[in-house]
Symmetry: C2
Subunit: 371 residues, 2 copies
């Protein structure tokens, strides 16, 4: 009996020690996510990138959060005696922005604590895991450009369509100054709000400009899923409808209503994911319209696709290190060998998510419209 108790004691000590060791891995320095609704305490994130959730649903049978390490079906929350559901991800999340949702008793809802962002063709909850390099997209005490909603006439789709236009700080001050333009596209399931809301494109530009790291330019962002692409149906994607809206309707509207340089040399197009697919197709279909091409996690160009190697002043290809960086890097090597000015960028430690694309824009902007 004594021996048995001793063994039992040892087992208890060992398992308690292991359990303490495991728990102590999660640092208790959780703070509200920067993407929370005003005044909301949860969700929270800690300095390691763990996310913690709190959901009130006292009579619910199950609450799950769609975030967590891959392949495990997210994070199941557990209910405390007050009917409040709690849970922490089973590991640190990648730096940056993530979409997520709750599943409450089999129904999909957003987290009442979080702000919503348009992704997956719906408004989803968003959470921000603080990144070591987040300074470049933070709101700082620097001169700010404006982001304005324009409603432009689109005869081809028989409606007024929405675009957002970033004008750099100082745009209103000198009514004679003109600017080059970057047309910047979102990904599948997102819309024209994505690059400002999730991407902070305006803050990235404000911060770059305040440090003199980029030339000022206008950014135009519009909805790119003109022909209602279904998920998984990207192979059947036809760019024609969107190309008409962009090239024949939006660009003339922007050139008429903003102080732009309206020549090919002063026009760039970039897109993330599906927006990269659109950029690829449209820049090749319309070599006289754009002179800077950028695909962010959005495929590659081959030298054979470029009719005249002097036409693109720059081809920029990027992706996250957790995607397929070799593809981007070898494409840039091939383009360079063919005499085309090409640059690659790989975002360290990120996947097919907005942190990759924020960093890509930060790297791309200084390369655009340089003399």
């Amino acid at each position: 009996m004594k021996q048995f108790s001793l063994i039992l004691g040892l087992v208890l000590i060992i398992s308690t020690t292991l359990s303490i060791a495991q728990e102590s891995q999660v640092k208790e320095d959780f703070k509200p996510s920067l993407k929370n609704q005003p005044g909301k305490e949860y969700p929270q994130v800690n300095s390691q990138g763990y996310a913690r959730f709190k959901v009130e649903a006292p009579q619910a049978q199950s609450v799950n959060v769609s975030l967590g390490l891959g392949g495990k079906g997210g994070t199941d929350l557990t209910k405390d005696e007050d009917g409040v559901w709690w849970g922490t991800t089973d590991g640190p999340m990648d730096e940056g922005f993530h979409y997520y949702h709750l599943t409450v008793d089999g129904g999909v809802f957003n987290d009442p604590g979080a702000l919503n962002y348009y992704g997956s063709t719906r408004w989803e909850s968003g959470i921000e895991i603080p990144a070591h390099d987040q300074d470049f997209y933070m709101l700082k005490n620097v001169p700010h450009g404006n982001v304005q909603q324009v409603l432009f006439p689109s005869p081809s789709t028989e409606t007024s369509r929405r675009a957002f236009v970033y004008t750099p700080p100082g745009y209103e001050e000198d009514p004679t100054k003109r600017y080059p333009v970057l047309y910047l596209q979102h990904g599948w399931g997102e819309d024209e709000t994505a690059w400002s809301n999730q991407g902070h494109a305006n803050l990235i530009m404000d911060n770059l400009l305040s440090e003199g790291k980029t030339a000022p330019f206008i950014i135009v962002m519009t909805y790119g899923m003109t022909n209602e692409v279904k998920y998984g149906g990207l192979r059947d994607f036809k760019v024609d409808a969107f190309q008409t809206v962009l090239v024949d309707e939006l660009i003339p509207y922007v050139d008429a209503n903003f102080r732009t340089f309206s020549d090919q040399e002063n026009r760039a197009m970039a897109g993330l994911s599906m927006g990269g697919m659109e950029t690829h197709a449209i820049t090749l279909n319309k070599p006289d319209v754009f002179s800077y091409y950028a695909l962010l996690s959005g495929g590659i160009y081959t030298p054979e696709e470029i009719q005249d190697s002097s036409t693109p002043k720059l081809i920029f290809l990027s992706c996250g290190s957790k995607e397929n960086p070799e593809r981007v890097q070898s494409a840039v090597k091939a383009l360079s060998e063919a005499g085309i000015n090409a640059v690659s960028f790989v975002s360290e430690g990120t996947a097919h998510e907005f942190q990759t694309w924020r960093r890509s824009l930060y790297e791309l902007a200084p390369l655009l419209f340089s003399k």
Copy 2:
């Protein structure tokens, strides 16, 4: 037994007839609400103003929608055999926009089918009951002004603050033209997005301008709950912090960065509900700053409060017919008798909601900055 069967039969026939009569009152011409997320079929509304909801939550025990005729705790949904919850309001809703939310097993969530609007200090679901006069705030094929986000420096609150600025169509075309400015405030629990998103202030102006019914002017909308007013704490509301932001920080920023007329004659302030309270206080505190004052469901002015009856070029007081219209009307009578130019407007069939305020802006705009 025969007699009993006969009576039972009659009862069954009568109750069935009544039930059919009642059901036939609800017209089966439901269509998706105009405030749904793209492609979402539910919630729906019919031509009478009934709203119908569909929520998927197969394992839930109860699902309630916060909308319905007053005093009945909203609408309880019922689950069908596929685990889908359905329900229709117990009567027609008032015309126009309503905030709402779901309660799923005791937890408060938004309807995954609806767009979200900031109200009650959170992003809530929104639904639109088609109004007989909705044409004036619809998106039409007319020239559109722009709504732009500006981030203005606010030393008093030690941050960059956000405002939205509506510039009328043609603003970009003539760089010498200047415009008067209306400062337009939201209500308690809302923010600077409310007047564009829920109020369609930009579309109301675009439509009025296309018919030549108003002079063009700029509208500036910023966040008015600078000092974190708690619901029910409006009696303790102090306007000082917001007045500093508005008068000492935002107005100089707007006058420096937009082509405004920056004199008192060309500046108006209006606000709904709590925004009316702010308008009342700030216009009286700063008679040299604004010359048009408008309170939308936001109280009244008394003749005694107006130091110089020639100072306000116009006082506009409005509310819904389901609020307290006599108060607004008698206040305007008293102001008029005191020699002050005052106008009242009562929105028929509406309460303390955005349809009242959309109509108020539509009535107010043509009265502003008229020669």
